[in-house]
Amino acid sequence: MSGFALARRTAVRYPARTCLAVLGVAVIAALNFDMLLLSRGLLLSFADMLGGAGYDVRVMGGGGVPAIRFPIHDAAALADAIRRLPQVGDVARVRLDQVSAAGPRSGPEQAVTLIGASLDAAHPIWTITAGRSLPVDEQGAPPSVVLGRSLAAALGAEPGMLVRLRAGDRDGRSLLPAIACRVVGVADFSLESARALTAAVSLDTFQAVQGGGASDEADLVLVASAPEVGPDAATAAVARLRPGLHVYSNAALVEQFNRNGFAYFRQMSLVLSTTTATFTCLLVAVLLTVSVNQRLGQIAALRAIGISRQHVAAMLLWESALLVGVGGAVALPIGGVLARALDDILRRMPNLPERLHFFVFEPRAVVLHAALLAATAVVAAAYPIWLAVRLPIAPTLRREVVS
């Protein structure tokens, strides 16, 4: 009889302990699996989110201190120059400010992040869920606005209705008049949090809400590189256009995020993965050791009838592999459910973009999970195997008979 068959029979003979051990391994391995998902989840999600809008290069007026905004001057001329570059496929200018918005029904004004976007770009930086995207505004008609889902719900506004946008916050301190805008669509803004109140208008309307004037500034210029050259060449070409600008490819931003913002979760994942793997190893080793101690007579009898040391060692290794293997397999669906629950908890952090997730599945995590469990099974079986193969046959059998 092979070592695997002996191990399988042992597992079947003691169903309660086998089930409990498998359950314990499954729960802890599920946590371990989740930590593997967490180790790169935020990074994958961030990269996906940045690439989602279709732009792979970002141009900013300043870097290093995100709280302080450095507007880009002569933004229209810069955008035209960028568009003429052979490495570039599309360009969008973006302006951002805090304004207040009032809905068609009576109710409190809402503090809103207003996005002003150039309409000559091929890719809008939002995904329309109802109505349509921003058209070019007609002379004499109210300017158009696209509302984020949360803002549309807060104002009770739908496509076709009028909302009023006013510079300044909602405490009524701005002297600028409110601008009535017609809602043309409701959209998801990929970089905004689920609770954020966001609206998008054309750059002209944005300027009108700010009180008019001839400001030609942008807070951000988004660039889509030409597919045949890629973002690195586009980044270099844009950076050469105007010294002093901060030009980043999405990959560079992800790398920066990996070095800074993501460090906490990566290290937490490393610490918890190590802890849970050690925990699983220790507990399986304890269970196997107690089980071997309980079966000393049985093992001595097997050795006495000619079963080799290697065979006994193989049996114990298989026992460990069965417990850890079955537990590890059960851990995958449990880990999936647990990851969703943990993701929901972490996504309660304020101002987190709606599309950002902490736990993201990738095949690499399953391969790592399997490798970790295989190593755990081998290490956990080492001590019980050492006990079993060094067992003196005759004294053990005598002790069993006497007891």
Binding site: Y14, L20, G168, R173, L272, L283, Q294, L342
Partner: protein, 290 residues
Amino acid sequence: MASWKELLLALALVGPFTSAGPVAAADAPQAGAPADILISRQLMRDAHLGVGAVVVLATDAEGTRTARFRVAGVYEPVPDPMKFNVKRFEARLHLPDLVALTADPGDPQALESVTAINVALVDPAAAARVAADVSRRSMGVTVRPVARARDDDPFAALDGFHKAIAAVTVVGSTAFLLALMVIRAEERREMVGMLRLVGVPSGSIVRAILIEGLVVAVAGAAFGVALGVAGQYGINRFFQARYDTPLLFVRVTASIAIRCLAVAVPVGVLTGAVASWTLLRRPPTEVMGR
């Protein structure tokens, strides 16, 4: 991360180090002498500065607007969990010096402008009312209490995450302890069967097994707390060195230790009860395998 050279205030060392002792930043500079500034410990170390050194601060990397300052001392930035992975390359200037360096010469109001005013209230509970009052009276000023509501606190979510992980670990540990207790119960089947046959009441056997489960769980929890207490020193030292911060990353408090033991007690009782049930649900002869 932007290097310190790329920060808002680019810094360049122009003078040799001197061996002068610490000088209070509030000391009034002599006429024509560079004004005093304080430099964060991290910047002092990485820029190889010393107290008394004369440095040039510039508003941009090209050095279009600059001013000379003398390093009067070094300070430890206030530990901030939101900035634990940010290099704290910072300098503290007297407000007039900073305004003179950074104010837009074309804006006559720039010399009278500040970014923020911090206010400490006599009664912190009145923060919302005071904020509303000041807000009503001041055009163009945003007034916010600094205290965060629980919904806006990122650490509340992290706290929930850690608790969820702890709960999952408890479930896994309970399964393992149950398996261990069941194995121990099987080991003692014959002895328990004999005890029952000679008239030892089932209640005594149950109590013995419950106490065993309880002792294992509580001893395990106590060992875990001791391990945590011992480990926190190493973890804190590692992360403090890694991020160059005096922040505490792990702290085992009395409340945590008590909670740990409070969870261990029901787990021990539960596993003991299940183990004793496996021995007492059948007649003694059957338990003995006869």
